[in-house]
Symmetry: C2
Subunit: 434 residues, 2 copies
């Protein structure tokens, strides 16, 4: 669809005449249709639905394709010019009044983890579509061009947004995704071209801003009964594999005081992580989520244990500060337990801070809608952290009941989702005006 | 070979005339040929030898069959009438002077764990053969009939001695052994008949006694530099699977104080086992040797942990005493950590005490040979614990260097093995005389 055709469709309907010339005379009164967002969420939940609840709409599967088809239909209904970039991200465009301005971007994702929930990604994607539709319905044309992005394979490593922001290394393309396809095969499956990914990349400074609405996936807003979170940034994440080597011996014949039990030392290390991470105020988190014992029998003293250590904070210097404390304590415990210890870093993802101006715009939009806000970090990774490499980003959180995510039990209340979408709409209007 | 033929062979040679009528006039001077035992150990070590050292002569494999062939040859050279019972145990017989007496038994095994050592089982089996050969060479005929048993599949659950003492349940016969064959197939592979196992069983009270020489598989004798261990009994062993259920949640978005981390509680439990088992004097041991984390990812708080708890002591009441203390502490820790806990007993093997009279005979034999002794429990299971169900048993231990066993690094000094075999010989002579 060319721009002329697009304009005709977007301006069709009665609402267009209420705001002639697209000026925002009555913009503060604009509201999304919350019922439609929640109806779309329910419709999308049918695609890849699990018998036991929740959804498995894993990137590069048939369910993913069907979800994208559904979203593209809604994007067209919202008056967007719909296509896909060479990385397989869905893109909906709406021209602005000033073609010389850089675009404002809205986005999120609709792929899920295996046996995931119906809110992670979907809330932000379908709310962004509704925001575009509300603008179209009201005949509002922004100053900036508007782009709506539904990034592919967020759950498998923010692959689509990675392609846009900094490019995807060849090794990553050969990695097998949760679908069983390699990333390369997956991109082709979605209609992208893995050999021309560079063309999907956008230059730093090429966007006016990026906004993403998302469920919190934590329990802070729900616990505090605050409807809107203003995200300070996406935490940095580092992973290490920690290996303890003791001595595997007969559990029946080796006295308690003659053992070099790698699991006993690992147990002390696991408690040390919890103790050290909690020893200072702040929102840092530290987790031991995986652990393997060798040889692994009732009657053999563990000779070798490998476990995963994860640390997250909004400040990478603090991640490294806690790592230093933990490592020193691990080394002390390993020595005391007659074991040796090794560390291997397997992931280093630096924090991505949101733009202070956009944070203020989100808070003001919420205030204008009579909604209380809380500033908080995002403990989870998001496409926004990739977009932060090329321009200012902002994120809006809505409450997750009980803080549950990546689970069929994931739930956000319809009213909270509608509030979030209205904050998204009015933040966009403010950024466009500013 | 019938008994008449056997008698001719056993009494053939010059030594027979030195002790006419088989009387033990010069018995205290009798000694085994230690060089031969150690040469046989070296020859057996070639069968199923691993490239990286040690041996994998797992029951019901080709290597096991070849080892048995070798042992049968040596048993025949020792003047024994050699056959196998319906369970596949090798049996060597030598008649006594008084056919009305119950037999005295010597025995052990020659199967190994995968990547095991060259001493566990082999030392006792080849020493018993040498004891029989020494008697033959010296023309000594005991009052009691003598039987030498090489039990099949000791390492896979003392299967052969189980068949003799109390029978093997059908379910056990269907279990797959380390060889890949079921126990049933394995018995057939050795020439036994799994459908007629009952005929291999021996009635309680049907034996005069059973003696087994074995490496300690622990470090007590080696540490104390004492050459002979008088075994007090074989410890009882109980196993439990302990399941902790917390809540699997996002490791990035769930604050430290909102977690129900099953692995963090498991870590506290592992330390509690160590603390409680060491809190009282004694030789009890407690081990957590296996542990599984679910879902098991860097970035997911462990929702479920299953681990194995093993407790051993010579007194089953003490095993249960420590279990009660540990269980109460686990339940307290589980509650405090926001998790639920479940226990399932998966093994209950009661202790088997050795006969006080045989213990005294071992100690006296060692003293007669100028060898110091230490009384100690066996922390490992042995065929002797099965034989204890049908008659008085005794066990002699020789030192394991560094206490290492079930490992290619397993080692016992040739001189210690020779000493052990001489104690075995003289204990047998004392029991026969007594």
């Amino acid at each position: 669809m060319n721009r002329r055709e697009f304009g005709r469709r977007a301006l069709g309907g009665a609402a267009a005449f209420a705001f002639p010339g697209g000026r925002l005379l009555q913009a503060p009164a604009l509201r999304v249709d919350g019922e439609r967002i929640n109806a779309h969420l329910a419709a999308l939940a049918e695609v890849g639905k699990n018998p036991q609840g929740g959804v498995s709409r894993v990137a590069y599967t048939e369910a993913d394709l069907r979800g994208r088809e559904l979203a593209m239909g809604w994007m067209r209904e919202a008056g967007l010019e719909v296509g896909a970039d060479l990385a397989g991200n869905l893109v909906g465009r709406r021209p602005g009044r000033d073609a010389s301005l850089k675009p404002l971007l809205l986005g999120s994702h609709i792929d899920s983890v295996p046996e995931g929930g119906n809110y992670d990604g979907d809330v932000g994607s379908l709310s962004a579509i509704e925001v575009a539709r509300s603008l179209s319905a009201a005949g509002v044309t922004l100053r900036h061009p508007l782009e709506l992005l539904i990034f592919q394979n967020e759950e498998g490593g923010t692959l689509g947004s990675h392609a846009i922001s900094s490019g995807v290394p060849a090794a990553e393309l050969d990695r097998v995704s949760q679908s069983g396809k390699t990333m390369r095969e997956g991109i082709r499956f979605l209609g992208g071209n893995p050999d021309r990914l560079e063309e999907a990349r956008r230059a730093p400074g090429s966007i006016a801003g990026y906004l993403e609405l998302h469920i919190e996936q934590g329990g802070r807003l729900d616990e505090a009964k605050i409807p809107i979170g203003v995200v300070l940034g996406i935490v940095g994440i580092r992973h290490w594999d920690v290996t303890l080597e003791g001595f595997a011996n007969h559990a029946g014949t080796t006295p308690m005081n003659r053992r070099r039990d790698a699991l006993l030392v690992a147990a002390q290390c696991i408690q040390a992580v919890n103790r050290i991470v909690k020893s200072e105020p702040g929102r840092q988190v530290g987790t031991v989520g995986k652990l393997r014992v060798e040889p692994g029998a009732y009657n053999v003293i563990p000779g070798r244990v490998v476990f995963g250590l994860e640390l997250r904070d909004l400040d990478d210097a603090r991640v490294l500060h806690f790592y230093r404390l933990i490592r020193a304590e691990f080394e002390r415990l390993a020595r005391a337990g007659g074991t040796t210890i090794g560390f291997q870093e397997t992931l280093a993802s630096v924090p991505a801070l949101t733009d202070p101006g956009i944070r203020r715009a989100i808070a003001a939009a919420a205030k204008g809608l009579g909604l209380a806000t809380m500033a908080l970090p995002s403990g989870a990774g998001h496409d926004a952290q990739e977009l932060a490499r090329i321009g200012p980003v902002g994120m809006i959180f809505v409450p997750s009941v009980g803080g549950i995510s990546h689970s069929p039990k994931e739930f956000s209340r319809p009213a909270d989702i509608t509030n979030g979408a209205n904050v998204l709409l009015h933040t966009l209007l403010a950024l466009d005006a500013g």
